[in-house]
């Protein structure tokens, strides 16, 4: 019978002495449409339970699905970005199985005719090379509701007394993107898996079709792994690891499964085809409930929805609107802004590239835009414990601050106060300038008056300056700056002091 080796899995290097790994990655992406796939309920994460539900997404008797046109467009855009072909005639199918979080007890999906198929993604690897991942298909489907397991240990399914169901997520549009078997990656298989999901995430983010938040479940990866003995070309039995919730976990899960498979196989056991769950804490996988019978989903064409026949014009219009691929854009930006590799990497790692680019698009010079985001704003984000994109300031607002400095309305120091005001919710930069009274005092007569006042207040220093000790002017400049609460241009004040003492 099946031997199970759960201890000391082999390293990938050891695995690859004996086997070639084969991977298949299935990524589910929730689209960020305004409404669900088949009804007009809001597609919104984190709402009060069962407040975004209607007869359709609750599967009430008599209700009928209605396809979301934007979701179809997103699916086509994703396909085009992944170099896929768009099927001339596709349609929906029902995938039948019973599960309490699925209100109709079938999922509307696509079966033999996914809307897009046969593509590829050239994935950048850490060493600067690329790896081509072939895409089998991408198809549309709907998400399930969510269950909360009550009783037993910490909300886990096992040992729970009962469950509570929230159908807000039921019917949220999903695109499932399936790779062809990834063969030949050898010891780099775990890295390729991570790099693929990373590249896919970046492409999807660039398209603007999804929030692609693995932590919130808007992007989910299932990793199929099998091993074939070196020198053969017959795939081994695969396992499907679910619940892989971060990019790092994708890599770890593949590495763990490779090692585990090798352990089982090398000790004479055989791999059971099953679903496994990845545990973030331990970095290991464990088997799901064994399937009592082979899953027969009894797919058949969804009779409630007419077929899709995207016209050539429609597809070409969507193709023309596709953004650059993220890494191509990165290369272009690096050249245009004159960044070193390290500067670029820092921007990417800080999740700041899009923010800086948008700031530049809003009119700021690249250097100022970059400097704001990587220094002062990064400090503020760190202090607030949020990510840079979550900071309550937009690229347009940053660009406006940069412009105010450039036109002399703000000094750099004042500009930081304006940014603080924006972050504190005091409105647009101009509102903060007005509200806090932060503009540079550029009224010459007011400045002159302030200088005269300071000279009068410190006659001994005024005397020194008149005597030619120009260094003493610093004390008067300081007094003027203090009097104007920093809103004067210090260099101009210096000039005025010397002028008045001539």
């Amino acid at each position: 019978m099946t031997a199970t080796v759960e201890s000391a899995p082999y390293t990938v290097e050891e695995v690859c002495e004996h086997f070639d790994p084969v991977m298949g990655l299935e990524v589910h992406v929730e689209l960020n449409t305004a409404t669900k796939m088949f009804c007009g309920c809001a597609n919104r994460f984190g709402a009060e339970p069962n407040t975004n539900v209607c007869p359709v997404c609750l599967g009430l008797p008599g209700s009928l699905p209605r396809v979301n046109g934007t979701a179809v467009e997103s699916a086509i855009k994703i396909g085009l970005a992944l170099n896929c072909q768009v099927r001339e005639r596709s349609g929906f199918a029902r995938k039948n199985y019973f599960y309490p979080d699925m209100p109709k007890n079938f999922q509307i999906s696509q079966y033999e005719d996914p809307i897009v198929f046969d593509g590829h993604l050239d994935v950048p690897l850490d060493d600067g090379s690329t790896w081509r991942v072939e895409i089998e298909r991408a198809h549309m489907e709907e998400d399930t509701g969510k269950s909360l397991h009550i009783g037993g240990a910490t909300g886990r399914i096992h040992g729970a007394d009962h469950s509570l169901l929230d159908y807000n997520r039921s019917g949220v549009p999903l695109i499932e993107i399936v790779t062809k078997p990834i063969i030949g990656a050898g010891v780099r298989a775990p890295e390729v898996a991570r790099a693929y999901v990373t590249a896919l995430r970046d492409v999807l983010r660039g398209l603007g079709v999804s929030d692609v938040r693995m932590d919130q479940g808007s992007m989910r990866c299932d990793a199929n792994v099998s091993l074939m003995p070196k020198g053969t070309s017959t795939f081994g039995t695969r396992t499907e690891t679910k619940n892989v919730n971060s990019l790092r976990s994708v890599e770890r899960a593949v590495r763990y499964e490779m090692g585990r498979h090798a352990g089982v196989l090398l000790s004479g056991g055989s791999i059971r085809q099953e679903t496994r769950h990845f545990d973030e804490q331990s970095g290991t996988t464990s088997p799901g409930r064994p399937k009592e019978t082979f899953a027969d989903y009894r797919f058949f064409p969804e009779p409630d929805l007419p077929p899709l026949e995207p016209s050539r014009d429609w597809v070409e219009t969507l193709r023309a609107g596709l953004p650059e691929r993220p890494w191509e854009r990165r290369a272009r930006i690096q050249t245009e802004w004159g960044l070193s590799d390290e500067e670029l990497r820092d921007l990417v790692n800080a999740d700041a590239l899009d923010l800086v680019a948008d700031t530049v698009d809003a009119g700021a010079p690249p250097e100022s835009a970059r400097s704001w985001w990587v220094s002062y704003l990064t400090q503020q984000a760190n202090a607030a414990g949020v990510t840079l994109p979550e900071l309550a300031i937009t690229p347009a607002q940053v660009a406006r601050v940069v412009a105010l400095v450039a036109e002399g309305t703000l000094t750099n120091k004042l500009a930081r106060q304006v940014v603080d005001g924006v972050l504190a919710g005091e409105g647009e930069p101009d509102d903060v300038v007005a509200g806090r009274g932060l503009a540079v005092v550029s009224d010459e007569s007011a400045l002159t008056a302030a200088v005269d006042e300071a000279l009068a207040a410190q006659p001994d220093i005024a005397e020194k300056i008149r005597a030619g000790k120009t260094k003493a002017a610093g004390a008067i400049v300081g007094a003027v700056m203090k009097a104007t609460r920093g809103q004067a241009d210090a260099a101009r004040v210096q000039e005025l002091v010397l002028e008045r003492c001539r």
Binding site: P49, N50, T51, A160, H162, K291
Partner: protein, 98 residues
């Protein structure tokens, strides 16, 4: 003859979530076998005939991505056999999807 056995019907009942009794199995297996035998007449049709899944003349029927009112939560839950904390309460769930 089709060859639907009692075991086949028991399997179908499990797939369809029907806790049929032994007595029902006896009756159903005979009836279903006879019905499947009759309807198997479609097997005479040549394979090269294209299928018709539906008779709707139109394609690309799409809805604009605009929100519409959802049900008030109390209405959504009104028909539930049991509800708790704004959610549908159901018996414990075993494992993941079948």
């Amino acid at each position: 003859m089709s060859d639907i056995t009692r075991d086949d019907v028991a399997h179908l009942a499990r797939l369809a979530r029907l806790a049929v009794s032994d007595a029902e199995l006896d009756v159903f297996s005979g009836q279903i076998d006879a019905i499947v035998d009759t309807v198997s007449k479609v097997g005479e049709i040549p394979d090269d005939v294209p299928p018709t899944a539906q008779v709707v003349p139109q394609t690309n029927v799409l809805r604009p991505d605009e929100t519409e009112p959802s049900l008030p939560r109390d209405v959504a839950l009104a028909g539930a056999p049991a509800a708790e904390e704004g959610r549908f309460r159901v018996p414990r769930i075993l494992g993941e999807e079948l």
